[in-house]
């Protein structure tokens, strides 16, 4: 009995030390990334102030962009979304709407409002997607093409668009994403700066809740009043802004938001497009692009652009947010497992040796181990080994460093583009940076575990999930 208790104690202390060590390492990595982000931002701010003296729109060298918009049961909003995309500021645009087997009036709305006529000829190229029922062209807008196909999910819809666009670049957009009018001009910058080597660039996604929006433009930016959306603003700033800027600095960007990313069409076709059997196709595609281009020995860059902004409504209830995050987690595990060959593989440069392993350690195992950490606290207390020092160390490390990293994200924002221009809003953002450590953060570890369980279960029921299409209300 005595030795059993002793064993438990040793295990608890050992595990506690492991958790602390793990967190020191991960947080040191994050800190490094955030500091790199500052350098990157400095460069970005300087670059955004340089406006070369020429008339861009009369240059024959601007690469055309095909905007691919998958739509599933969006009859209520599709016309307005497409209207606002037609008025985006860019010299050469094609808009490819893919109606992914909607069961509502999505297609009819499009046909009526944009005066679509069917193209009677058969499609002359093989498209790796579900059966295409018809292709429509607008008689009013030369740049509008509509594809009507059998439901196959978001990846499938994206592929249909990618295969049928004529443009050298394509932009994957969720139809409920609001894009700043000049955002494409910004997002295309890596392709203008390095026309022959840029293969992908991703923009910033911000939280649209509480911003005032009219005619598809965000008129004024404001911070959601309370609760979950506010916390997510903070989270997006830290993870999707500062975090990606830092990775960009070391040329290790492995995630471009699916809601707003620009790709070289030919490169994506070369890797057979988006994979159907993944739920986080945006992550998967970038990792596979890295792999493919390294394998081909091609010189290339993947870039993150902090300034152009796309806005998206984030979930405002815990139920919907939980569902979204479990899905993200599941998809991440799956992509990591599929591409495990890149882990610690020096062939893939920094992505293989540094970025990908740390990503796995921090994003995949991090929340799981943190969750376990919370479990051993009461256990340790029960066995009487939870002394104040131990608890303080754990608390200072996770919370103190967590707050510091979050605030770093806010600081980067204020120092660079300063979209939330009132100090009061900044003050509230900082407050959210503290608040998220009490409750929200712990809840996310539970969600990660649930996501893992779903992933493990889901392996068997994959076929059923594949054809559910995608629900714009949630994501």
């Amino acid at each position: 009995m005595h030795s059993a208790t002793h064993l438990v104690l040793i295990t608890l202390v050992g595990f506690g030390s492991f958790v602390i060590g793990y967190y020191l390492l991960i947080n040191a990595y994050y800190l490094g990334i955030h500091i790199l982000a500052l350098f990157e931002l400095d460069e970005n701010v300087k670059e955004s102030k340089w406006d070369p003296p020429f008339r861009e729109f009369s240059s024959p060298f601007y690469p055309g962009i095909g905007i691919v918009v998958p739509a599933y049961n969006e009859a209520a909003t599709i016309v307005e979304s497409i209207q606002s995309m037609l008025s985006l500021n860019y010299p050469e645009l094609e808009i490819v709407v893919v109606n992914d087997g909607s069961t509502d009036e999505t297609l009819q709305e499009l046909i009526e409002n944009f005066e679509l006529k069917p193209v009677s000829a058969d499609i002359p190229v093989e498209v790796p997607a579900e059966e295409i029922h018809g292709v429509y062209r607008s008689t009013r807008y030369e740049e509008l093409l509509v594809i009507d196909k059998e439901n196959g999910g978001k990846s499938d819809a994206l592929n249909a668009g990618v295969w049928l666009t004529d443009m050298p670049l394509f932009c994957a957009v969720d139809s409920d994403t609001i894009i700043d009018r000049d955002a494409l001009l910004q997002l295309v910058k890596p392709f203008l700066e390095r026309p022959k080597t840029a293969v992908a660039s991703g923009g910033v996604i911000r939280v649209a809740n509480s911003c005032s929006i009219s005619d598809g433009i965000v008129k004024s930016v404001s911070l959601p009043k309370t609760g979950l959306p506010g916390l997510q603003v903070m989270e997006y700033l830290r993870a999707f802004y500062s975090g990606r800027l830092g990775l960009n600095r070391i040329k290790g960007l492995i995630l471009i938001s699916g809601a707003f990313g620009l790709f070289q069409t030919e490169a994506v076709r070369a890797i057979d497009g988006y994979r159907h059997d993944t739920i986080t196709e945006d992550f998967d595609i970038v990792v596979r692009l890295h792999r493919h281009l390294v394998d081909e020995g091609r010189e290339y860059t993947v870039d993150f652009i902090p300034e152009p902004v796309a806005w998206t409504e984030v979930p405002s209830t815990r139920r919907v947010l939980g569902r979204q995050r479990r899905r993200w987690y599941r998809g991440m595990v799956e992509t990591v497992i599929t591409n495990r060959g890149m882990l610690f593989n020096p062939k893939y440069g920094r992505v293989g040796t540094l970025v990908f392993p740390f990503f796995v350690a921090a994003e995949m195992f991090g929340p799981l181990i943190e969750g376990l950490g919370y479990l051993i606290l009461p256990l340790a207390w029960y066995f009487g080994i939870l002394n104040v020092e131990f608890f303080l160390i754990f608390f200072f490390l996770t919370t103190g460093l967590g707050v510091f990293l979050s605030w770093f994200g806010v600081f980067s924002e204020v120092w660079s583009f300063n979209r939330y221009d009132s100090p009061w809003q900044i003050f509230r953002l900082l407050w959210y940076g503290i608040l998220e450590n009490f409750g929200y953060r712990q809840w996310k570890t539970v969600v990660a575990w649930q996501g893992l369980v779903e992933y493990l279960k889901g392996v068997d029921t994959w076929g059923a999930m594949e054809r559910t299409g995608f629900d714009s209300g949630d994501e």
Binding site: F54, S59, F61, S120, T139, I393, F404, V414
Partner: protein
């Protein structure tokens, strides 16, 4: 149990470690907090101050531009630091938007604000962006002499482009050849679109100069730069009279398909040359192993557009087995002929129908736009006009 921590032969009491850690994190948090809030307040105050003066400055600026004697001197002397900053922003904006006589007025204002001299000094700055801002101001104000006074030599691709653009826009170049040399002499890495566009503008005045420079330099170029120059060649018009095309023909033998494709498109400009039009040469091109290169060759043939070229194109498309290359070629072919060749396989027919129909849709929209008299958002999609030749959609893929 955890009272003392030992490492590397040193022992520290745990409580000391915890306190130190707490202090470090606490201090870092406090600093970051005040830094963030302070910066936010500062920027907010700055914005408010600038916003307050902007409207007045703008209307005074426009009054000046449209009056006989703007009296910039006496006005500028009364301005505060904030007002000068805002005025410089406005000046930058209007210099890009206005043209003609108004620009001359604005340039006088730039002189009054001392921008050319300041820019000249900044040409010696160590940061590239500072030099680029300076070059941009000099371009907007049309002051090439400041580069010469500062004895400035551009090093980076962006600086080369900025200097070449400034000198080109102000007629400061002795010849287009000098501009081409500023851009390309010693350059190895690719330009931005701004640079590519600048090279294109300069070379349009004297395509032969670009071909000569390329002939001498191309071996030291990186592959992206080579592709870029080839794509400039594709756009610079049909009056290329240079005899020596060996570098261009050499690029057709390059290992990388992207280079061969760009070279094939560039050949669209020299369709008048008999050696380029010779059958063995064309046969080799349309049989290139890469579908991308074959597609580019089809576009080139459509661009030549004469009967022989169109026949070669039709015949090649009948034999084409790659869907994508056939589609690219067909999109080009339908701009040149209304009738398909008599004998063709089913794949050809399907693609022909598809391309024809899409071309008709394009026409319908254009007619609609013409009728309603509105300038379509899609004007650029209808092709670019150079030297009277409309380059249809195929050209857009080059960039």
């Amino acid at each position: 149990m955890l009272q003392v921590v030992s490492a590397f032969g040193y022992s520290v009491r745990l409580i000391v470690l915890v306190v130190v850690l707490a202090l470090v994190i606490g201090l870092a948090l406090a600093v970051l907090f005040w830094l963030t809030v302070g910066l936010s307040v500062y920027r907010s105050v700055q914005d408010t101050r600038q916003e307050r003066v902007r409207d007045d400055l703008q209307s005074r600026l426009l009054d000046g531009v449209f009056s006989e004697d703007p009296e910039w001197d006496s006005w500028v002397q009364t301005l505060s630091g904030v007002e000068r900053d805002v005025l410089e922003d406005l000046l930058d904006e209007y210099l890009r938007e206005l043209d003609g006589e108004n620009v001359a007025r604005l340039q006088e204002l730039g002189d009054t604000l001392g921008i050319p001299d300041r820019s000249k000094q900044r040409l010696g700055a160590s940061g590239e962006y500072k030099r680029l801002y300076a070059l941009t101001w000099l371009a907007l104000l049309g002051r090439p002499e400041k580069i010469h006074e500062a004895d400035f030599t551009p090093e980076t691709p962006r600086e080369r482009a900025s200097v070449a653009r400034l000198r080109y826009e102000t007629d400061d170049l002795d010849s287009p050849a000098e501009g081409v040399s500023v851009m390309l002499n010693g350059a190895t890495s690719q330009f931005s679109i701004f640079g590519q566009d600048t090279l294109y503008r300069i070379a349009t005045d004297d395509p032969a100069a670009l071909f000569r420079e390329a002939q001498e330099q191309y071996q030291s170029w990186s592959q992206p730069l080579l592709v870029q120059v080839l794509s400039v060649c594709q756009h610079i018009g049909t009056n290329v009279t240079t005899e020596d095309l060996s570098w261009l023909v050499g690029a057709l033998e390059h290992d990388v398909p992207a280079v061969r494709a760009a070279a094939a498109r560039a050949l669209g400009n020299v369709g008048w040359r008999q050696d380029i039009r010779s059958e063995p040469f064309l046969t080799r091109l349309v049989q290139d192993p890469s579908p991308e290169v074959r597609g580019a060759t089809y576009e080139m043939l459509a661009r030549w557009g004469d009967q022989q070229a169109v026949e070669t194109l039709s015949a090649a498309l009948v034999d084409e087995e790659d869907d994508r290359a056939r589609l690219v070629g067909m999109d080009a072919l339908v701009t040149r002929t209304d009738s398909a060749p008599a004998d063709h396989p089913a794949e050809f027919d399907a693609t022909w129908q598809w391309s024809r129909e899409h071309a008709e849709f394009d026409d319908t929209v254009h007619r609609f736009d013409d009728r309603s008299g509105e300038s379509s958002d899609s004007q650029s999609a209808s092709g670019f006009l150079f030297d009277g030749v409309v380059h249809e959609d195929g050209d857009q893929k080059a960039s």
